[in-house]
Symmetry: C2
Subunit: 347 residues, 2 copies
Amino acid sequence: MKRRAKVSDVANEVGVSVATVSRTFNDPKAVRDDVRARVLAVARSLGYSPHPAAKALRMQRTHIVGAVVPTLDYAIYARMMNKFQERMNEAGYMVFMLAAGFDNSKLYEPVHQLISRGTDGLLVVGKIEDDLLLRFLKERHIPTVLTYSYLPDEPFPSVGFDNYESMRQLIEYLLLLGHRDIVMISGITRGNDRQRSRAGAFQDAVAKSGIAKRCHALERPYSLYEGAAAMRLIRSEYPKTTAVMCASDVLAFGVLSECKKLNIHVPNDLVITGYDNQDFSALLDPPLTTVDVPAGDMGTQSAEALLAAMTGSSKVASVKLKTNLIIRDSTAPAHATSPALAKDVRG
Amino acid sequence: MKRRAKVSDVANEVGVSVATVSRTFNDPKAVRDDVRARVLAVARSLGYSPHPAAKALRMQRTHIVGAVVPTLDYAIYARMMNKFQERMNEAGYMVFMLAAGFDNSKLYEPVHQLISRGTDGLLVVGKIEDDLLLRFLKERHIPTVLTYSYLPDEPFPSVGFDNYESMRQLIEYLLLLGHRDIVMISGITRGNDRQRSRAGAFQDAVAKSGIAKRCHALERPYSLYEGAAAMRLIRSEYPKTTAVMCASDVLAFGVLSECKKLNIHVPNDLVITGYDNQDFSALLDPPLTTVDVPAGDMGTQSAEALLAAMTGSSKVASVKLKTNLIIRDSTAPAHATSPALAKDVRG
DNA sequence: CTGAAAGCGCTTACAG
DNA sequence: CTGAAAGCGCTTACAG
């Protein structure tokens, strides 16, 4: 079994001190050109790379960051994390991903463990609603960036979009199309600021329009089957409903598939909207009106922000990303509205 | 800023040596009951946890493992990794995930880097087809487990299923239904033993049935749009096709959505099959015949195998997991076949 | 049952 | 430009 090469192995073979070997890598211009060249050559031939634990111990930096996401089993997070990792790797960092569930009020235990294992920085999806964790991060001065939501008033910089505003726009569009009996299916709002913002946008808009009594809000876990089940409930409990707004494309997919079973025609009998603009959404039948979310961008820019926070000099600014309302046939104004109106909204 | 507590902080406050503090955690019965209690209490109040880098340096074990998956952006891998992580965390390990693409012949560079960063063990999706990496893992004696494919002849233990056999069964079923003009759309086979096995099962089966000339195989990256595009090609190039077999549900979803656009009725005009049994597959219209893959199980059992490989005593046995043929309406024998025949195949 | 001391592999202030 | 030495925080063989 071949032992891992260490600085002293390289130093011995070249005939210099370990200090010189170390400098070759960490402060190259401090060592004479020909010596550096010889060290590099030997290091290469021995397959030397610095022992990460030794380096981390000495430098008090692990070059590891933690990323707290609700789950990996959701395309948007997966895509975001792919990009985040890519950028962090480029910068010499490794990323520990922690799938911690959707409730950010119970983050202390898992995240504390993550940090105890040694991380230089932290990325968290959404607002941290766990005071214990908030205090811990502050005390220990852990560089932290929030992502997914744009949260200018939080104690940490954030890279994300405006969940409230994007949902509000979508609702305005449905109101413009003439819908007044609307049901929203959001995700579980406890410990989840994104879902709360989206559900809140709905409540506010229907209240403002004086149609709160005709509208209803449901909370369901993200899943196709929950979407389908919710649709059955809507059909029996709120039969006058003309529009179902889902806070995720996955829920909308479930609703749509149930409509097919129930022989409810979309969009003629019922209009459906989603959120996320997943790949499949354009290929559903009918294609889904939804909100496009810049997952990849968010990953890259979150990495940028975290790197800045870790170098630590100046305060890192939050970044507000744009969403796009994508109007497709699942809300096509079948009879109710004129093409002119639809065009007006699109523009 | 609160400094992180270390052994000497605890030792000082309790009035014992660092050795005793260390023993309290690593060899509790070697320290007197009352002393241990006092140490524990102080450690707790100081929020002490051993510095991971120091511990790793001293023990020459990081308690970190690497997991090499093609991408996180695929439900099956995500679900598998969720379970793998869960089990590894329980056992005191952290998991570094590396999204390394689908071509396992180009794994050396990224995996070498991963290992240089310090990992006690390695999980790899599929067969490693990179000789450089194979040699490196052997030389350094890195405990390694392969997953996804059951590979009894590889130099490392594997936890997975039989891609060839499961696809063969599906083809037999289509042949039994009377299909003779069949197109398979597989993923890219280069550096991917799973796709090669599935494509190989197809080639062998149609050759054996003497219908190779009437059948065709396409290779496409995993994506909805590639599936849709492939369907357009099938329609124009192979118009006699009565069955399209896809090596993933995602491709099948794309094919199905294109059929809808082209006014091809499934299953009456064309029969479609997938592979993976993703959540959405049962909710497509029509629901998709596919192969159910035990993603969660695979994750847990891979963790078990890797833990065993790292304790290292005995040789770890490979585990063969079962797949299930799930027959749904996308292959409903519309006119061609009798219910009796279908029943026969299901049983 | 307990403590003093060595050493894991690295980096860097200090002296030359 | 280079080297000897200290020290990052831990664990454990050794001595008592």
